[in-house]
């Protein structure tokens, strides 16, 4: 049994088949990239997994459990975190509190304890903070701790979103275009981090990406999509050489 599995996943908006009977599996500890032209259904697959959309048909399994009917907030609790293509940070909060929100699934305190801020809550907060500091160190975010998100440049926000996802201590992380809007050096950093996430933190990574250099550098396997269907699956070089993929990108 695979670690993560999507079976015949479909998402139809009326007559439009955004995702059409897509099946794929992810093994524990691998980096899988999903590529494809605009509108191929890559982000839709992520939105199906994180339950922002409900699939028209098909099932999703994670660690041998059917998670197709789990509520959206339940997905994070299972250990699946995600980032967004266009950055969904909490704009009017500091970097630190954004990251602490990522710790939400690990908080065990009750409302009345929090109202009194009992020692147990304080202990919990310090534990969260300790974990958050580890992520801050991992991603070199030290200078930004107390800054408001609304005043930070795009590249930094992108990293903070990754940090927030890591703060949930995910087993599987979904990265939606981690390099979009980043310059060459930032993309380099991102590729190191993605590989470190796999080797140091043991996180399984599924990412949607357009930058083929990044895809080639980090991924173990690649899936190519077009019009909601799987065109090819395999190692980066196999997929790039596949005639259907070439046709989809070049339009021949």
């Amino acid at each position: 049994m695979s670690y993560f599995r999507a079976e015949n996943l479909s998402l139809h908006f009326g007559g439009l088949k955004a995702v059409d009977a897509v099946s794929f599996a992810v093994e524990k500890g691998e980096i899988l990239s999903i590529i494809g032209p605009n509108g191929a259904g890559k982000s839709s697959i992520f939105n199906l997994i994180s339950r922002i959309y409900t699939p028209t048909s098909g099932r999703i399994f994670f660690e041998d459990r059917d998670i197709t009917d789990a509520p959206a907030y339940g997905i994070a609790k299972l250990g699946i975190a995600r980032t967004f293509q266009n950055i969904e940070l909490f704009e009017n909060a500091t970097v630190l509190s954004n990251l602490l929100v990522g710790r939400h699934r690990h908080s065990t305190t009750r409302l009345w304890q929090e109202l009194l801020f009992l020692p147990s809550v304080r202990m919990n907060e310090k534990e969260h903070r300790y974990r958050v500091e580890q992520v801050i160190e991992f991603l070199d975010l030290e200078p930004y701790r107390d800054k408001l998100i609304s005043g930070l440049p795009y590249g930094v926000r992108k990293v903070i979103e990754l940090a927030r996802a890591l703060c949930t201590e995910p087993k599987l992380i979904l990265l939606d275009e981690p390099s979009s809007g980043l310059n060459v050096e930032e993309t380099d950093d991102m590729s190191f981090w993605i590989r470190d996430m796999k080797s140091e933190l043991g996180v399984t990574v599924v990412m949607v990406e357009h930058d083929m250099t990044l895809v080639n550098r980090v991924s173990d396997r690649v899936i190519a999509l077009n019009y909601g269907r799987v065109l090819a699956m395999g190692t980066p070089s196999e997929v790039q050489g596949h005639p259907d993929v070439v046709a989809a990108y070049l339009g021949v």
Partner: protein, 383 residues
């Protein structure tokens, strides 16, 4: 300027970041504690209203300022708290008990209002809460066996520990002050713990909040319940302060006053609730001043610059008519809201922070520091 060197995670958790805060808030508390023995009874009475309004302000800030759910129904929550107190008092329930009951019952009703609110956002939520307020107002007027309808209900003096606490005594003022301080401390505790951060997360992006494992519906209901419960406590005190309650006291205008409290004070910090409450409570004395003294002052001025006595009397009457016109209060509220939304969106507390920063950075202050920037990275796709 002071630079903080943080050496411990506690430095980011504690309520007073440094000794300066302890000193200034300590002084403020000391001044508030000696206030009833120094100030006139009228001003103390105003302070009691400030405490009650600020308590409701904190409640509304938790819901609107931090969770991002607008409400124009808080007068109804206040009414439920007030009527619960008045009703239970008839059966000789002791004060601490019915005080708790008014908060808890209002909290439960707040949670019930929260459920339909889950599917509504922005202006639709405002309309839903207004409808709720109208329903409550109507029930209060019709359910005569419990609420005595439009006749209203009289509230007896508080009996606490075997002694009477009249509504204009220093003890009553201390009671209101204690409720306000406890509410503020509780709210601050909440905001520095996971629940408070979940509220802010929901305000800023529901999609992201969900993907972080926050049960958005549950936290919205929690926010409604907490906000309503605090308002219920305030309602109990409000009833005692007025000593008589009737349905027409809890109208839409009162809800709007509460919105003004947080809008003028500043929606991003609890300071705003207190500053806004002071502002709103002071409008009434200002209107009285307008009514009583303004005509005389203006007529006197007109006479001084050479108007005849007949003309001065005319001016006097015209100003008096204007100052006592019906709906002047509503008009003033309207103007205040417009002015603040346009020119001071961060409210009085935002202005205070700007003044503070100006002196901290003295020759180097830039006006652009607080200019709102528009950044075009937000996705509209998933909304």
């Amino acid at each position: 300027m002071r630079f903080l060197f943080k050496t411990d995670y506690d430095d980011d958790i504690r309520l007073f970041p440094h000794s300066g805060y302890v000193l200034s808030y300590g002084t403020l508390l000391a001044l508030l504690l000696i206030a009833p023995f120094v100030l006139s009874s009228y001003l103390v009475s105003q302070l009691v209203f400030v405490c009650i309004y600020a308590t409701v302000g904190v409640a509304l800030l938790i819901l609107t300022g931090f969770t991002g759910q607008a409400s124009l129904g808080h007068a109804a929550f206040l009414a439920i708290g007030a009527y619960t107190a008045a009703y239970l008092q008839q059966f000789n329930v002791p004060f601490p008990l019915y005080f708790l009951a008014s908060g808890l019952l209002t909290g439960v009703i707040g949670a019930m209002v929260g459920f339909p609110a889950l599917r509504l956002q922005g202006i639709y939520l405002v309309i839903a809460t207004i409808s709720f307020a109208f329903i409550v107002e109507e029930i209060l007027a019709r359910w005569e066996s419990v609420t005595h309808g439009n006749e209203g209900m009289r509230i007896k003096t508080i009996q606490l520990l075997g002694t009477q606490v009249p509504r204009d005594s220093p003890t009553f003022y201390f009671l209101c002050l204690a409720v306000l301080v406890l509410t503020i401390v509780g709210a601050l505790n909440l905001l520095r713990s996971p629940t408070g951060r979940a509220f802010v997360a929901i305000r800023d992006s529901e999609t992201a909040a969900r993907s972080m494992g926050i049960n958005v519906s549950l936290y919205k209901v929690k926010s409604f319940a907490i906000s309503a419960a605090i308002t219920g406590f305030a309602g109990c005190l409000f009833a005692h302060k007025l000593s008589f309650i009737s349905p027409e006291m809890f109208t839409l205008q009162l809800s709007i006053e509460f919105i003004i409290v947080i809008l003028i004070g500043g929606t991003f910090s609890l300071h705003g609730a207190v500053l806004g409450a002071i502002f709103v409570v002071m409008i009434d004395p200002f209107l009285t001043y307008l009514k009583d003294d303004m005509p005389g002052v203006i007529a006197g001025f007109a006479a001084a610059i050479g108007a005849g006595s007949a003309r001065a009397a005319q001016i006097h009457d015209a100003v008096a008519a204007f100052a006592s016109a019906n709906g002047l209060k509503g008009a003033i509220y309207g103007v205040i809201i417009v002015v603040f939304v346009l020119f001071e969106p961060l409210g009085l507390y935002g202005r205070w922070l700007k003044i503070k920063l100006f002196f901290q950075l003295f020759p180097l202050y830039k006006r652009a520091t607080f200019k709102r920037q528009k950044i075009y990275v937000k996705s509209e796709r998933l909304r």
